[in-house]
C-alpha cells in the first residue's frame, strides 16, 4: 500500500541536522495519491478540527504547528475544545478556514496561510479529494495528505497513523501508538476471531440516535467493521450499501437486533435531543440520555435488544479517530462478557490518555443502560 523511498542523501542530512522534521520522502496517501512529504513542517492546515483527536496522540503540544482548521471541533465537541484551550490558550489564535463543512472552506484563506502541509480526510466535513483546493495547494508547493479513520477503520487506521508519523516527523511516537493500538486490538480479535457466525449477536448501531430523524446506521465500513471485529453481526450491513447511511425503520425492526448500540456526542448542557457522551458528561447524565433516546421512539423501544436490556451507547466521534480501539473493547465486552472478562476498556482508555495524550479523561465515553 505504501511506498516509502527515503533518499539516502536526505536521510544522511536528516541524521546530521538533528531536528526530527528534516527529511524528504515520497509516500502514497489514503486517497491513493503519491505525496512528496516536505523536509520541514512548521505550518499545518487541518481539513477538519476534529483531526485534533489524532494529532494529539502524536504531537506535543498538539497544536503548536497548526495554523488553520475548521470550526467543527469547537461546535461538535466544545468541552474537549475548552480542555485543550485551557492548556494551550494560543489555540484561539489558529485561523478558521471554514465552519463545519466542505462548502464553508475558503480556499483563499487556506492559501493565504502559506502552510507547508495540509492534512485532509478522504470523507467527512473537510475538503475532499476533488476539491480544486487540493490542486491549488500543490501549485504553491504544499503537499496534501489524505488520511482516513472514518470510512474503513479496519484497513486504514494503521496506514493513516504511519503516514501522519512520517509527515510530522513523529515516526517513533506513531510506531509506539500503533504498537499499543495493535496490542489492544489483538486482545479482542484473538478472542472473537473464532466465534462462529451463529453465536454472534445481531447488533444495531443507531448513529446520532435521537438527534437525527430516522435511523442512521453503519453498513459496510465505519462502525460496522468494528462491530464485526468485536464479535457481532452488524445488522446494518444487510440494509445499506455504504459505510454510513439511513436505514428503513421497518427493516431495522425486521432485522430483530439482539443488541442495540446508540452513538451520540451532545455536551452536558446541550439543548438538542440525543445521547450525551464525551468529556465532562457524568455517568448519570449519559445513562439518562440513553434511556430517553430509547423511550422516545416506540419502534426502537420495541426491538428485542431493548426488551432484553441489551442497550448501550458510545461516543459518536469514536468513528473518526483511532481512539475507537477503546470502543472496540467496550463493544466486545457487551457482546461476549464471558470471553472478555480479562479485558478492561476503562483501563485501556486511561492508559491511552496517560501514555499518549498527557491528560486524564473526564466524562463517560461509553455507557450501558
Amino acid at each position: 500500500m505504501m511506498s516509502i523511498e527515503i533518499s539516502r542523501r536526505h536521510w544522511l542530512l536528516a541524521t546530521l541536522m538533528a531536528p526530527a522534521s528534516v527529511r524528504a520522502q515520497s509516500v502514497t496517501d489514503l486517497a491513493g495519491r503519491s505525496v512528496q512529504l516536505p523536509k520541514r513542517v512548521e505550518r499545518i492546515v487541518l481539513g477538519e478540527g476534529r483531526q485534533l483527536y489524532t494529532l494529539a496522540l502524536l504531537e506535543d503540544p498538539p497544536l503548536a504547528r497548526v495554523v488553520g482548521w475548521q470550526g467543527d471541533m469547537a461546535s461538535f465537541d466544545p468541552q474537549t475544545y475548552q480542555q485543550y484551550r485551557a492548556r494551550f490558550p494560543q489555540m484561539d489564535g489558529i485561523a478558521k478556514i471554514g465552519g463545519t463543512s466542505e462548502a464553508s472552506v475558503s480556499p483563499e484563506k487556506v492559501l493565504s496561510l502559506r502552510p507547508d502541509l495540509a492534512i485532509f480526510s478522504i470523507s467527512g466535513h473537510g475538503p475532499g479529494r476533488r476539491n480544486p483546493l487540493v490542486e491549488q495547494l500543490q501549485k504553491i508547493g504544499v503537499p496534501v495528505l489524505f488520511i482516513d479513520f472514518r470510512e474503513h477503520p479496519l484497513r486504514n487506521t494503521i496506514p493513516s497513523l504511519r503516514l501522519l508519523g512520517q509527515a510530522l516527523g513523529r515516526e517513533a511516537r506513531a510506531e509506539k501508538f500503533i504498537a499499543f493500538y495493535e496490542a489492544q486490538t489483538r486482545r479482542v480479535t484473538e478472542l472473537t476471531r473464532d466465534i462462529p457466525w451463529a453465536q454472534r449477536p445481531r447488533v444495531l448501531l443507531d448513529a446520532r440516535a435521537g438527534d437525527v430523524a430516522g435511523v442512521l446506521t453503519a453498513g459496510r465500513g465505519s462502525f460496522g467493521e468494528l462491530i464485526e471485529m468485536a464479535g457481532g453481526r452488524n445488522a446494518g450491513a444487510d440494509l445499506i450499501p455504504t459505510p454510513l447511511g439511513e436505514a428503513s425503520l421497518e427493516a431495522v425492526m425486521a432485522a430483530k437486533p439482539e443488541v442495540y448500540i446508540a452513538s451520540g456526542y451532545q455536551h452536558p448542557t446541550a439543548s438538542a435531543a440525543g445521547l450525551r457522551l464525551g468529556a465532562q458528561v457524568s455517568e448519570a447524565l449519559a445513562r439518562e440520555s440513553l434511556l430517553q433516546v430509547v423511550k422516545r421512539r416506540p419502534e426502537i423501544a420495541s426491538l428485542p435488544a431493548v426488551r432484553s436490556g441489551h442497550v448501550h451507547g458510545v461516543w459518536h466521534h469514536f468513528y473518526n479517530t483511532p481512539y475507537h480501539v477503546v470502543m472496540l473493547q467496550a463493544m466486545a465486552q457487551w457482546l461476549h462478557p464471558e470471553r472478555m472478562a480479562g479485558v478492561d476498556p476503562q483501563a485501556t482508555w486511561l492508559q491511552m490518555h496517560r501514555d499518549f495524550l498527557g491528560m486524564a479523561p473526564t466524562g463517560r465515553y461509553w455507557i450501558s443502560a
Binding site: 478558521k96 471554514g98 462548502a103 483563499e108 484563506k109 493565504s112 467527512g124 459505510p243 454510513l244
Partner: protein, 340 residues
C-alpha cells in the same frame, strides 16, 4: 414620433451603458475583496505579471490567478448566461415562471455529473461532459415533446417540471448508493458555488456566450413578434416551432455550461428577465442583452456580498443570490405590479 423613438433608443442605450459600468464596478470590487487581504498595489503587480517561472508558485499569485480573477469573471459570465437563457425561455414558452431550472436542465446536468462521479470518473472533464450530455438529453426531450406533440407552451413547462422531479429523484437514488467520499464530491459539485471556477471553464463559457448571444439577437425581432402571440407571429411568416427549437437548444447549451461551471444557481434565470422587462420592455434587441447584463450584475453583486457577509468562510454564492436577489425582485415587481 421619430423623435420619441430615437429618445427610446437613447434611453435603452443609456441603460445598457450604465449596467455595463455597474458590472465593471461590481466585478472590480469583487476582485479586490477577500480574506487574504491583499493590497491594491500588490493585486495590480500580480495582475500585470501573469506569467511566472517560480516553482512552486507564490501563494498570492495563485490567489489572484486561480481564485479571485476566475471567480469574479465567472460570476459575471454565469450570470449573463443564465439571464440570457431565462429571457429567451420566458418568451418562447410564453410563461413568466420559465427559467433554465424550470425545464429540469440543471437537474439533468447535476444528475449527469453525479452519475459520472458514482461510476468513478477519472477526470474532471468526464464529469463535465456527462453533465452536459444529460442537460442536452433533457433539452432534446423537451424539444421533441414541444414539436412532435404540438403541445402548448404551458404543457411544455409542465413537462419540464416533471423532468425536474425525475432527475431530482434519480439524483437522490445515486446519493443513496454513493460512498461517503463520492457523496461528498457530489454534494460539492452540485452546490451552487464559484469555488470550482477555472480558466478552461471560463473559456468554454465565453465561447458558448459568444455563440448564443449573436444568434439570439439575430432572432430578436422574431422573438419580439412572438410576444404578440403564436398566431400573430405565424401570420408574420415566422416558423414558430423552429424558432422555439432553436431557442431551446441555445438555452440548453447556456444552462448546461453554466451548471458545469458552478453547479446549480437557480434564481438568476427567473429574475433577470423580469427586471430586464421592467427596464426596457419587450423589444428583444434590448430585452435580451439587458437580461444577460442584469444576470451578470446580480450574480457578481451576490459573490461580493458573500465575501463581505462572512469574510473568513466561503459562503456559497447560491445562498446569497436568493437572499439578496429576492428583496430586489420583490421591490421591482410590487412597485410596478399594478401595471403588469
Amino acid at each position: 414620433m421619430r423623435d420619441a423613438y430615437a429618445g427610446l433608443l437613447r434611453r435603452h442605450g443609456l441603460i445598457l451603458g450604465l449596467m455595463a459600468l455597474a458590472i465593471v464596478a461590481s466585478c472590480t470590487w469583487d476582485f479586490t475583496t477577500g480574506p487574504a487581504g491583499l493590497s491594491g498595489s500588490r493585486l495590480l503587480e500580480l495582475l500585470l505579471a501573469p506569467w511566472s517561472s517560480d516553482a512552486p508558485m507564490d501563494a498570492d499569485r495563485v490567489i489572484v490567478w486561480d481564485l479571485r480573477l476566475p471567480q469574479a469573471l465567472m460570476a459575471v459570465l454565469v450570470g449573463a448566461a443564465l439571464g440570457l437563457a431565462g429571457a429567451e425561455m420566458q418568451t418562447v414558452l410564453d410563461n413568466p415562471l420559465a427559467s433554465p431550472f424550470t425545464l429540469g436542465l440543471s437537474e439533468a446536468a447535476a444528475f449527469g455529473a453525479a452519475l459520472a462521479l458514482v461510476l468513478g470518473a477519472a477526470s474532471a472533464w468526464t464529469v463535465v461532459a456527462s453533465a452536459f450530455a444529460f442537460a442536452c438529453l433533457a433539452a432534446l426531450m423537451l424539444d421533441q415533446v414541444a414539436s412532435r406533440l404540438a403541445m402548448s407552451a404551458g404543457s411544455v413547462v409542465l413537462f419540464g417540471i416533471a423532468l425536474v422531479f425525475s432527475f431530482n429523484a434519480l439524483l437522490w437514488l445515486l446519493q443513496f448508493i454513493a460512498s461517503p467520499e463520492t457523496l461528498q464530491a457530489i454534494v460539492f459539485w452540485i452546490m451552487g458555488s464559484l469555488v470550482r471556477a477555472d480558466w478552461p471553464k471560463l473559456a468554454g463559457l465565453s465561447a458558448v456566450l459568444a455563440l448564443c448571444l449573436p444568434l439570439a439577437l439575430a432572432d430578436a425581432w422574431k422573438l419580439t413578434a412572438l410576444r404578440l402571440g403564436e398566431e400573430r407571429a405565424a401570420s408574420l411568416g415566422i416558423d414558430v416551432v423552429r424558432l422555439r427549437r432553436r431557442s431551446l437548444l441555445r438555452v440548453a447549451l447556456l444552462a448546461a455550461t453554466a451548471v458545469s461551471c458552478v453547479g446549480t444557481i437557480g434564481f438568476i434565470g427567473l429574475v433577470a428577465p423580469h427586471i430586464a422587462r421592467r427596464l426596457c420592455g419587450e423589444d428583444h434587441r434590448f430585452y435580451l442583452p439587458t437580461s444577460a447584463m442584469t444576470g451578470a450584475l446580480v450574480l457578481s453583486a451576490a459573490a461580493l456580498a458573500a465575501k463581505l457577509i462572512l469574510p473568513g468562510a466561503a459562503l456559497p454564492v447560491g445562498v446569497v443570490t436568493a437572499l439578496v436577489g429576492v428583496p430586489v425582485f420583490m421591490a421591482i415587481v410590487l412597485r410596478r405590479g399594478a401595471l403588469a
